[in-house]
């Protein structure tokens, strides 16, 4: 299953990168969200899947899933969320000020 999940995460990365290479700001932002999802899936997969119970200690249970990746993902999810929110507002403001949401039109001039 880990192999399959690695492939799934890889496809998420591919989809994310594809979106990152789009012209439209919205798609680019979507791309970053997909990329983080892919990253989180990778983290989880790297800690082995489905070995034992959820890491909430219970009497008599000795096999638990690896808790560390889960903790790392939690931290990462929250950070990603902060980033996505900021990015969204920034995109909104940038598109509004520059009157376009096409990144290809937001190149600027080398010498200015």
């Amino acid at each position: 299953m880990e192999i399959i999940m690695s492939v799934v995460a890889g496809i998420l990365f591919a989809a994310g990168i594809y979106n990152l290479l789009q012209k439209q700001l919205l798609r680019i932002v979507i791309g970053t969200v997909i990329l983080s999802n892919g990253a989180h899936l990778f983290i989880l997969t790297m800690g082995k899947l489905k070995r034992g119970a959820p890491p909430v200690l219970e009497y008599g249970v000795s096999e638990y899933a690896d808790p560390l990746p889960q903790a790392l993902i939690l931290t990462s999810i929250v950070i990603s969320f902060g980033l996505t929110s900021l990015l969204l507002v920034l995109s909104y403001r940038a598109a509004q000020e520059n009157n376009t949401d096409n990144m290809e039109k937001l190149r600027g001039n080398h010498d200015e």
Binding site: L35, I43, E97
Partner: protein, 494 residues
């Protein structure tokens, strides 16, 4: 040696930033408080530096959880030296800021973001845990996003978004790489990683992950061919922000490369470190070419960040004690001089009203001190003695020659000439010539903007002429870098 000292350089700016957020509307008070807090922070950093210099590496297992399970902070000499440098630069910037920023920006949490940037940078230098490094990266990046967008002008927003997106991408790859490493090595503690890497037999996958991690840091450090995002966005925010970015952000990337590729990934040097030398060479050439390509003085200086990083990575690639000493020395020197140059360019652009070199002439008549500071800075950058740039470059290049890396050293020498030319152009075209009568200056502001620059340039001269004073520190650092067991022992053998 275990001590809470290790966390102070992180906590003090953190608390400062939070405190200042409460008073954000009371500008005069915040200004003074920020200066005071910055002085305190620098003082503490200096004390920690001195303490580590005297007593050796200080570690702190946060929350009392022993390494490698909890997060450990490792204040080794390299980390505390960089923390101190960071604070000194912060000090100059904080005195410059009120004269450069509009009051509006100050009110909108400039000082909070500023201190949190320092928090993130200091944390990144001090942490001994790879995932925690990621978290500190995010702190400093988030603070940098806040600073670069502060003001919300059209061009600023346009360029910031590129900056944010590229960094976001590299952060995501970073966290994924941490997961890969966790899978292979079963840990996120850097010292333990280093230990375990030595026991591994099939190392191909480690090298691959290492290279991926290198690219994460190389993107932040602005190495060839990943630096595209850097030059333009660095010219759009306020000079004081640019100065902080130039001094600190790329150097955190370089620091991470130095740390990981002297501590952990030292098993396959013929691949990794050889690659660094090639990349360093291209970085030197393309960075210097970039610096010559424009008439925007801020952009000239922004491009100059790139070859400097090339020099530092060249030292890592050469990987002997002389070259590593050189890299560290050059890094310290470059942090200071880049901050100075951005502040300087900001002051010039402020007076002239544009950063366009074609609209400047004869400024030496109005801005004599700034002109001569620029003149000296050109030689610091080019590595002309007796300034600090020379000492670093000399050691890197000596190390290169000693290992038979002839081509890269010659590229380094030639790029130094181009770097000198790029800055001298500003001096000759902008500062020499007939006086431009249309430019009027506000003496008070110019003086206030000049002193922080002079303060920083003074340090580069001191680092050059007084190199003997600082050399033992750097030698000690590179000795620790060449012998990773020192780092490992400081984490585990307590």
């Amino acid at each position: 040696m275990m001590s809470n000292l290790a966390v102070l350089p992180i906590i003090i700016p953190l608390v400062s930033g939070i405190l200042l957020a409460f008073f954000h509307t009371k500008t005069p008070f915040v200004r003074h408080a920020a200066k005071l807090l910055s002085v305190i922070s620098t003082g503490v950093a200096a004390y920690v530096f001195y303490y580590v210099l005297q007593n050796g590496t200080v570690t702190l297992e946060t929350g009392g959880w022993e390494a490698p399970y909890g997060i450990v902070l490792v204040a080794d000499l390299l980390a505390v030296t960089l923390v101190l440098t960071t604070n000194i630069i912060g000090l100059a910037c904080i005195f410059y800021a009120p004269h450069s920023l509009t009051e509006q920006k100050e009110k909108f949490y400039f000082y909070t973001f500023f201190f949190l940037l320092i928090t993130g940078v200091s944390g990144a230098f001090l942490t001994g845990d790879l995932f925690n490094l990621f978290v500190f990266f995010e702190v400093l990046l988030m603070a940098s996003y806040a600073l670069i967008t502060l003001g919300g002008e059209k061009v600023q927003l346009r360029e910031s978004i590129k900056y944010v997106l590229v960094n976001l991408f590299s952060s995501i790859v970073f966290v994924t790489t941490v997961a890969f490493l966790y899978s292979v090595l079963g840990t996120v503690n850097m010292a333990q990683m280093a230990e375990r890497v030595q026991e591994v037999e099939q190392q191909g996958i480690l090298t691959t992950i290492g290279i991926l991690l290198f690219f994460v840091f190389a993107t932040k450090a602005a190495l060839f061919p990943l630096y595209y995002w850097l030059p333009k966005p660095y010219t759009v925010p306020n000079p004081v922000v640019s100065a902080m970015f130039a001094a600190l952000l790329t150097k955190v990337g370089v620091y991470s490369i130095i740390r990981m590729f002297t501590l952990v990934f030292v098993h396959k040097m013929e691949v990794t470190h050889e690659l660094f030398i090639w990349i360093a060479g291209f970085t030197l050439v393309f960075g210097a070419i970039g610096a010559l390509s424009t008439n925007n003085i801020k952009l000239v200086i922004a491009y100059n960040i790139i070859p400097a990083v090339g020099f530092m990575v060249m030292g890592v690639g050469i990987y002997n004690q002389t070259a590593l000493s050189g890299s560290v020395y050059y890094m310290i020197s470059d942090m200071i001089i880049k901050a100075a140059l951005f502040l300087l360019a900001g002051a010039v652009a402020h007076v002239v009203g544009t950063p366009d070199l074609r609209k400047m002439k004869g400024l030496i008549h109005q801005l004599p001190l700034l002109g001569w500071l620029l003149f000296i800075s050109a030689f610091v950058l080019a590595g002309v003695p007796p300034f600090s740039g020379f000492i670093g470059k000399l050691m890197i290049m000596q190390g290169g020659f000693a290992d038979g890396e002839i081509a890269i050293v010659i590229i380094g020498l030639l790029s130094s000439l181009l770097i000198l030319y790029s800055i001298m152009k500003i001096f000759v075209r902008g500062f020499w010539g007939e006086k431009d009568e249309s430019i009027t200056i506000d003496k008070k502001t110019v003086t206030a903007l000049t002193w922080p620059v002079a303060f920083l340039v003074f340090f580069t001269v001191l680092l050059g002429i007084g190199a003997e004073m600082f050399y033992p520190v750097v030698d000690d650092i590179s000795n620790q870098l060449m012998n990773p067991e020192i780092y490992i022992d400081s984490v585990f053998k307590e």
